[in-house]
């Protein structure tokens, strides 16, 4: 009965891919049948990622070129796509047509609206017909649509860090209709594993910098989900910063509470929403999250504070951008979609 699900990782040579491999190698309900990489086809997995030498069956895996027929021949039941943005659509349609479930870690299927995609990504969406069947798969907020879904779009790393604290408050109509301000700090793995001078060690070490103002691409999906939660248009400013850590996102949000709403209402709403959810840890009032408590895990820690002097609510979250912000969330979705306990393969110390 414990037949494992046959899974493939398409685009396995980046940082999200690397972490996804870790999770799937040790997942008791998954069997990796294929790992693809155009650049590394023919190379043993552990030659590129020596860290996984001797871990489960990693030594027996070899990168293959991404090829639909080969993925089918290998018996793939679920394909995780850990490709750069803009490439997932090439694989999604044929995989779905072949009856293979797609769990996409890229931004390609996160938006409901092809025009919004074009406005932020600068080119028409390559497969708009798939958008309506994709599920924006943030398990703690959209869990009901995940079970049984065939095309799951995993949220971005920054969006996860904002949506977990904000969506419950907007659904409960606790926030005023004034701009929300968000500052996030991300580790450098968020920039990907590609040759690039700005992400060399000496360019990032001993450096703290903002970037991507004023219109980071992740604002598109954040806006979509905030509007959906609020039932109105929500204005939000977002400034990401690069800080010299490998993994981790720390997000700090400033928002105004509606007249009459108290800090107690905020706490009650958050606690109500996340009661029993194993991966959201609510730290309490005036408690500040620290990325070092979540790196390598699927946890997201959330704290809050009411600034009486300015009359503003402060929300703070910390997650691992590669785990809860990418691969861990993908595996959490995999668990939910297949009816496995949510924490399967995700109990990471």
């Amino acid at each position: 009965m414990s037949t494992k699900v046959k899974v493939a990782v398409v685009g396995a040579s980046g940082y999200s891919g690397r972490e996804l491999l870790r999770l799937l190698l040790l997942h008791p309900q998954a069997e990796i049948v294929a790992v693809t990489s155009r650049a590394h086809a023919g190379k043993p997995l552990v030659a590129e990622f020596p860290r996984w030498r001797g871990v489960a069956n990693a030594d027996s895996l070899t990168f293959v070129a991404p090829d639909i027929a080969a993925l089918k021949a290998a018996g793939t039941q679920t394909a995780f796509l850990a490709l750069p943005h803009g490439l997932a659509h090439e694989f999604a349609a044929p995989l779905l047509n072949a009856g293979i479930q797609v769990i996409d870690l890229s931004a390609d299927f996160r938006l409901r609206n092809a025009a919004l995609y074009e406005a932020f990504y600068g080119h028409p969406h390559p497969a708009p017909e798939l958008l309506s069947q994709a599920v924006y798969a943030l398990p703690e907020l959209n869990g009901e649509s995940i079970a049984g879904a065939q095309l799951l779009a995993c949220p971005g790393c920054y969006p996860t860090s904002m949506l977990v604290p904000l969506v419950p408050l907007l659904r409960a109509d606790l926030l005023e209709n004034s701009p929300i301000s968000v500052a996030s700090m991300s580790g450098v793995s968020g920039a990907g594993r590609k040759e690039s001078v700005p992400f060399l060690f000496c360019e990032c070490n001993e450096s703290v910098r903002s970037y991507g103002v004023p219109k980071h691409r992740h604002l598109s999906e954040v806006g979509q989900e905030l509007d959906r939660a609020a039932g109105r248009h929500v204005r939000i400013s977002f400034v990401p910063h690069l800080v010299p850590v490998n993994q981790g996102i720390c997000t700090t949000i400033f928002a105004a509470l509606r007249e009459g709403i108290t800090a107690g209402d905020v706490e009650k709403t958050l606690r109500g929403t996340y009661a029993g959810r194993p991966f959201v840890r609510l730290l309490g009032t005036n408690q500040c999250p620290d990325t070092k408590n979540v790196t390598g895990t699927n946890f997201i820690d959330v704290g809050w504070s009411f600034d009486e002097r300015a009359g503003q609510l402060i929300l703070m979250s910390a997650e691992d951008n590669l785990i809860k912000g990418a691969s861990g969330q993908a595996v959490q979705n995999f668990n939910l979609a297949h009816g496995f306990p949510e924490t399967t393969g995700l109990v990471l110390g």
Copy 2:
């Protein structure tokens, strides 16, 4: 003719003291006649700071216990106080009475109002009679009061990073009367050089965390100066974050522009205010500052961006918390107070 000013550094064993020593050792118009440290009295300076071995006359300096009579006997003309908060008042009055100029790097004399001090620091101000004669010495904004002042209170590191971008806009009445939101990221030297588990390497490395919400002490002086600039009460929320770099503060500010005010007005006001000021580098629209371009220097870099979607102005600054945020600014004030060129001893590559 080129008689140097005899200076003393009181409380020279912390990080601000260390940087102040660097600047004064190489300053062509200053002669260090005493360095004090209760903990290290009797110890050669270079035994505690081996980095300064062989630099100017560092090898000839020995820490002495802080003692007013000794400072007078050494001929001190200007005393820099680099003490922890709450200790400067012990030295300030007797030094001033002895005709010695005091340049204080602590928070003790930054506030005009003793009640405000008590509200933020939790105890009555120990020398309220001195507050009225102290100058809040941010040279680019309050330069006119610095020449000839006897008691100079150097602004805090976080405040400098906020006031430089914000004060000109408030003076010019460009900002709406709604809360301003500020997220700052500071290097760990901001926590000082004292035994403490939370600031051990392994507690800070690979960690990003907010702290001190919602009422960081620096809000007191920031509020005082913003209110003074605006001529009204300015509401501001501030969340500081600790990031794993030695030196550097990166500050990001969200504010609403008054109806009809454009991004062009912002740029014009900033350029007008800082034209000819050697240490404020205005980077331009949508240009993001990076702490690695200012560490070790007295520069503060400022960028800005108008977020049309949310209707908010984003201001961004970067400085070295120990230099422009502390020791460098103190030396800049020293230069201005004595009529030396502003950049004397501060041209650091």
Copy 3:
């Protein structure tokens, strides 16, 4: 049948303790019945280590004062001692007398010879009568003596990194009788989790430094084990270095091969010794280990190279000082002593 072993962690507030807790919380054959800390008694475990919130039953654990009676009352079967050097003996004798197995992570029981202890630690050994019954528990080299042992002394972090590459070569008599030279680089967690200026973030970051020359304490156990392996006195120089990473030791060893011995003999001996050992990964000739491939795991990676120009063998190893160099090795010993599979609870990605 799967009754878990009741374990206690004595001295659980340091870095080795923290990692030991991680491993034991998730260990399928261990049940933590007590965690002690003099400083934190009465405090919930997760208040000191918020990282473990929500991990297994961590939320239900509270630090207690170290007390033999309480450990007995809790039903402790195995006590892990993660105390600073010099304190373990206070606990070892009474625990052993109470029939409780002791797995000690400190240096207190590593030496066979009380005089050697005194020569390196500067004071007489406090419990010399226990030395003869303690096992120097490096599983891959002394595995036969571990099963069923009651007092296990886990090797130090630096010694593990040297002994794994060197002992097989000395046992096989491949090395010349000339001094062996060793340079090791350790992450800062090796210095422990105690208030101390030299290990503040700003003192260690952007710093590389040697220390402890010429007679680091770990040389005592290294010498003991090398002499035992060689059957003669082995001369060795060792220089440790502190490098700005949290966890990890990288060790590089220079040694002369005996006349007629080839690099092939070295490889054959290492491969023969470690065949089938799950935690020693032999990388091959001219392959250099990298600590980032072993951090967080119980692996030790070993590479080697023959420098023909100088006629010297170069051996290189990498391990996590807190895992294979401390807590992981302790759990590995626990597994072996109890007859569990060696990798139980140690398959860490």
Copy 4:
């Protein structure tokens, strides 16, 4: 009278170039008349290196393509070549023919012997006729040949860290004729400023690794200089390591003293050699250097220890690989070659 020397920096876009620019911008006897970069020709210097904005006349400089005629037209008197290895020879001959002094930071002219070059660099030397006129310019050891030289080959970063401690001892014949073992740890800037996955932040951070065994290219010049100093062939093994700091090399050397030679002889020889040399700081017996005391400066710190147990001498040095190991040494050579005081433009706190 104080006519400055007109200098050009050829290949100014790497890390050594960046530091060289810092030093020359602020050098009172140098005037930068050209900075070249094939990749950045036409771009303002400060667009690539925003750190230098507002520093001296940096804002007025623009990268030009490397072109001999243009360098001549600009009136260049001294050309600093900060090119990757293997490119300097293209420029050296025509520049020398045009009467322009060449100070080369690459390895191209460090070896006396073209065959040795080929053995280590894998291809014939491109301009062997120039080797005999080049000076191996380590000022503290070969100072006499630097004054007036036209082609100066600045030593490599690793070689400087080994030669400063070792050469005096070999010249004084204090060391036994047995292999010398050297472990060095370098910051990542040593790998250059080029697109490359292995030097991305996330590949180097939290990583310590050896590399380049057993025959690093720098061994060629080290061997040449050690043999020259000893008057015999010196065997040496060298293992470089990469550690996560931006700048700094820490080198630890193990060597055997000749029968009858004492640690006192070592100290006396080192002190005799470096008396009055401003950039060599001798720390004393059992004193360990720390890179954080030399980064950003032209100092090299040297400590030593005699390991009686193993009968070996331990030598330890720390320098900034980009300053004393490259650009600072180049400027020091410039000063000496032109008769300026050795420390001109190099007094860096």
